[in-house]
């Protein structure tokens, strides 16, 4: 089986997901991802002519709620699990200098 995803592509995807990978991992995941794609590729053996593309497994649409506002969590509850806070703000490392 030819490799569907080469290490360079894995590096790019990892960068988009903000993940650091070693050279070994790049090789390893390139093989694994290729295996997965090859496996899924079996589906292309099916003849899908005349079959409508689907966007989901359920034949349901238009599930809405009414536009009514209700309070949920207090800011104390919202911030309870935050590793770091500043007053009522979530605190994160400086985004801009």
């Amino acid at each position: 089986m030819p490799a569907k995803i080469d290490p360079d592509q894995v590096r790019r995807i990892a960068r988009l997901a903000r993940i650091n990978l070693t050279q070994e991992e790049l090789e390893q995941f390139s093989n694994q991802l290729s295996d997965i794609l090859n496996y899924v590729d079996q589906l292309s053996e099916l003849n899908t002519e005349g079959v409508e593309p689907t966007t989901g497994p359920l034949k349901i649409s238009n599930v809405f709620r009414q536009d009514q506002a209700a309070r949920s969590l207090s800011s104390e509850q919202a911030l309870a699990n935050a590793p770091c806070r500043h007053g009522d703000f979530f605190a994160v490392p400086k985004v801009l200098e």
């Binding site: 536009d67 309070r71 919202a78 007053g87 979530f90 605190a91 400086k94 985004v95």
Partner: protein, 491 residues
């Protein structure tokens, strides 16, 4: 050689729903940080978003107002987004099946109609707000995360700063007419992202030409910064092209992102886009598609009001008002509705228009409201207009009565009578005054009668005396006729 600016604009508009796009948290500006949040908009695991029907209908209404094709089937997509102001790490948006596309808006620019194409308008969720002025950290307030956001993308059909401004202002006017957003600039309800490039051409070769590299400027939140950004970029790109006519071309340089520096009033280089943005879109598995049928679309269509440009044209034609006055009266739907109600109640259009313009808009502005919010019913204002139309009060007095009506619920006629402001047009009442004035001013009468150089001056003097003696209540036209008749024997 010459160049023509080529500009497209992306506009984000926050919709004024009561609750957020996919959860029931209040959509409300100015509350304490992180007080309008829930597990859904905090991006907690295991939660499910649910669509806000009102937000969807607002978006469709805007699509209709922009003459778009409304998709009968749409779905939602996830757009990768790695910033702390949207904690799910993706934004729910619409990628390949936007709810509306292929529309246009007509603008009035310097008296000419210009049509700007609308590529698409789709719904998504807003991000929260980062606060940068805290010590040692960036603060994140997620009250805005998940607020319904309409993204409107234009075709690159604008060719000048005035066209860009007319487009942006028309969009603000339109969403306010439709009542789908307050479009309050101070509260960040509208944000602009212009894409700017120059078409460089040679008059000698009509078929040739090239574009300068596109520059996209992100996140402008005022008309002023939009105007200055576009003007600056046009000049900057023209300078770059003149300095390097062969290298500064779209086919030799990739697209660039720049930011607007409000203090220095320049755009600042941010990054080149070496490749297409990689957002890793994929279908949102937590939401179901939306299918809109004719019946539902018809109900939304029925909510479309007369749109600003149509109303402008009708006001000009139906009421014979000039461009400036019509623009003022149609700028806000509430003002236009109020004006029409006043005319409907019997006022002459010109009188109503002038009083609303000179008094109503000014007083409303002072009080931070709109003309309808001044508390003077259309019927009462029409009553005042009729007093002036029938010469019972002068135009100056009418302006004063307008102000008095803010403090008093009396009919305008009573206010005028109580304050002795009714104009005297009754000839018998004026005759005595005119007779007195004429008998006391023999010289002026003689000058007027002589018809010489001094005649005109003498007549104004006599009329002035009559006005003074009547304490300004004489109808000047009637008094003048009376003087002419007495002195010259004319009828």
């Amino acid at each position: 050689m010459g160049y023509r600016p080529t500009i497209g604009l992306e506009i984000h508009v926050e919709l004024s729903t009561a609750s957020k796009m996919f959860c029931g948290c209040p959509n409300h500006f100015g509350d304490p940080p992180n007080s309008n949040v829930c597990p859904v908009c905090l991006g907690m695991p295991g939660v499910l978003p649910t669509m806000n029907r009102q937000a969807y209908e607002y978006a469709v209404l805007m699509g209709l107002a922009l003459n778009c094709r409304i998709a009968t089937f749409t779905k939602w997509d996830r757009k990768g987004y790695y910033y702390p102001d949207l904690p799910k790490n993706y934004q729910i948006s619409q990628y390949d099946l936007p709810l509306s596309s292929n529309g246009y808006i007509d603008l009035l620019v310097n008296g000419q109609t210009k049509r700007i194409g609308i590529t698409r308008a789709h719904l998504e969720e807003d991000a929260g707000k980062n606060v940068h002025d805290l010590p040692g950290c960036t603060g994140v307030d997620l009250n805005r995360a998940g607020v319904p956001l309409l993204e409107i993308v234009s075709e690159p059909d604008m060719n000048s700063v005035p066209e860009v401004m007319a487009y942006a202002r028309s969009m603000r006017q339109l969403v306010r007419y439709l009542n789908i957003s307050q479009a309050n600039m101070q509260q960040g309800h509208m944000r602009f992202e212009p894409n700017i490039s120059l078409w460089v051409f040679d008059d000698a070769e009509p078929d040739g030409g090239h574009y300068t590299p596109i520059v996209e400027v992100k996140n402008l939140n005022s008309f002023r910064s939009l105007e200055r950004t576009v003007a600056f970029e046009i000049d900057r790109q023209a300078g770059q092209w003149q300095a390097d006519p062969d290298g500064y071309r779209m086919d030799k340089m990739s697209k660039q992102n720049r930011g607007w520096d409000d203090v220095r009033e320049v755009t600042v280089y941010q990054r080149h886009k070496e490749e297409a943005d990689e957002y890793r879109y994929f279908p949102e598995p937590d939401l179901l598609p939306v299918e809109i049928d004719d019946a539902w679309l018809g109900r939304i269509k029925a909510q479309l009001p007369e749109l600003p440009i149509a109303r402008y044209a009708r006001f000009r034609k139906e009421f014979g008002l000039d461009e400036k006055l019509t623009t003022l009266l149609t700028s806000e739907r509430g003002t236009a509705d109020y004006f029409e109600a006043v005319v409907q109640a019997g006022a002459s259009p010109h009188r109503a228009a002038n009083l609303i313009q000179s008094q109503g808009l000014r007083l409303a502005n002072e009080r931070g409201t709109d003309v309808a919010g001044l508390g003077i019913s259309a019927e009462r204002l029409a009553g005042l207009c009729k007093l002036a139309d029938e010469d019972k009060v002068s135009a100056t007095t009418a302006a004063g009565i307008f102000q008095a009506m803010l403090e008093s619920d009396d009919p305008p006629e009573k206010i005028a009578q109580d304050r002795n402001l009714m104009q005297v047009s009754d000839t018998s009442a004026l005759e005595a005054i005119v007779a007195e004035v004429l008998s006391e001013n023999g010289k002026a009468v003689a000058d007027y009668k002589s018809g010489g150089k001094k005649a005109k001056k003498a007549r104004s003097f006599i009329l002035g005396q009559v006005m003074q003696r009547s304490k300004g209540q004489a109808n000047p036209k009637v008094a003048g006729e009376l003087i002419d008749r007495k002195v010259l024997g004319q009828t």
